[in-house]
Amino acid sequence: MTSARSQSFVLGLIGVVLFLIAWEVIGTYRLAGLTWPPLSTVLVFLTTPAKLPLFERATAASFASVGIGYVCGGAGGLVLALVSHLIAPVRPGLDRLVAVIHAIPSIALAPLLIVLASADATPPVISGLGVGYVFYVAATSGLATAGAAHRDLFVVLGASRLSTALRLDLPSALPAIASAMKLSVPIAFIGAIIGEWFGASRGLGLLIVSAMQNFQIPLLWSAVLITAVASLSMFALFSLLERLVQERMR
């Protein structure tokens, strides 16, 4: 690591630590009122053995929604992108459909989904729709990034449309897809949490809303903190993957 990079790393670390200290101080001296607990209170609450089963159950339910939504949404978005890439005439229609579905407020989708599927299927579906949108947009633009010279080469070599897609377009789309994998992480969490705000029977989202309504301040902050840390770690992991892909494809 060069000195400039280690310097910015240290500065960033100091920034994060200052943020956490500010959180603690604001909470301790009640600078933002009673509803802002110090970080230490939240951490103590989080690690109370009696609360562990509650968090475990909620976290497991939410993570399952996030996981299912992420995998299915990502795969669906990719397949749809490939279809719209291979069959050019359907592209404008699919673009619009995806954009319209994305523009429907997720709180409006929830009741529809509760009717169409069930309350417990709603979080992964909303999560998957959000993830699918990011994958679709990134993959359709990524599939079109291959250079004219390469494309000409494939035409001259007599490659079929499918083999051009698989051997040229898909590899050139990998960096964009890797970015989508990273960027859709917080979206997957948002989808699952919002889905749970509408009558799911368990999950972090349910915990957050009921804690908000019942003034259970440490519980509210703890549930949000778990969500944030989970999203952040997954985001960091996929950033690493994204960097690897970009190095490899350069």
Binding site: S8, G15, T35, D95, I190, M212
Partner: protein, 253 residues
């Protein structure tokens, strides 16, 4: 004339066939399965409800739109200001950049209940939530725009002896405009959706509240019509932001 109409309709068909297919499938399914309108009304019933009393939607839609716009502007002013501050100081930049990154990688929507509890159930809280949602993209995009100078231009300003202030006003700030507009386009529809979610959770007036009330009274037609309006508002915001971005980019690049 007829050919123009034909061309227009074929363009519309080309773009909206998939949407139309989904809506038609929904109507057919509702009719065929004989679902009660409380469970799931068809698109025709939803449209009828809206056409029957369009004015009752106008007020909450206008409110939500206004709240979203005000929050968006607040978020952008604050985010851009912080980006400029962090541009001007290497120390501040080093401290803030990772925090900005962290906050863009967590689901900020989950902070809505916390802010609702901190600030109280109030319209101002909805504005604050929208501002928060818009703040981080503005900070990140404007920040990178302030560093995306046209090639060679910083050398040029140094050789011509431009002062730091001139360099900022004549080079750095204008360079960030395309990124600012990009962030604007990306967050404008999100601002409306965030406002709707916040209204839904806190019960402050607007489309989110209207939806919650209708859903609570099992007036599903009204609930779905409300979400249709919310979707249209969000799409309209996107369209406005896109048009603004295109105009600015034509002028700027």
């Amino acid at each position: 004339m007829t050919s123009a109409i034909f061309e227009l309709s074929s363009r519309v068909a080309q773009r909206y066939w998939a949407v139309a297919l989904v809506v038609a499938g929904w109507q057919i399914w509702v009719s065929a399965a004989g679902l009660s309108s409380i469970v799931l009304p068809g698109p025709l019933a939803v449209l009828t409800d809206f056409v029957g009393d369009p004015l009752s939607y106008a007020e909450p839609a206008g409110r939500t739109f206004a709240v979203a716009v005000v929050g968006l502007l607040f978020g952008f002013v604050l985010g851009s200001a912080l980006a400029v501050l962090s541009w001007s100081s290497r120390l501040l930049n080093g401290l803030l950049t990772p925090l900005g990154l962290i906050f863009t990688s967590i689901p900020v929507v989950t902070l809505i209940p916390i802010i609702a509890r901190l600030l109280g159930y109030d319209v101002r809280t909805v504005v604050a939530i929208v501002a928060l949602i818009c703040f981080f993209p503005a900070f990140v995009y404007v920040g990178s725009g302030l560093r995306a100078l046209p090639p060679g231009s910083d050398d040029l300003f140094r050789v011509f002896g431009g002062s730091r202030r001139q360099c900022f006003l004549r080079l750095v700030l204008p360079s960030s405009i395309p990124n600012l507009m990009l962030a604007f386009r990306l967050t404008a529809p999100e601002a409306v959706l965030a406002a709707v979610v916040a209204e839904f959770l806190m019960g402050t007036d607007g489309l989110g509240h209207m939806f919650r009330k209708a859903a609570g009274e099992f007036d599903t037609e009204r609930a779905l019509a409300t979400s249709l309006i919310a979707t249209i508002t969000s799409v309209a915001c996107f369209g406005l932001a896109l048009a603004a971005e295109r105009r600015v980019l034509r002028r700027w690049t």
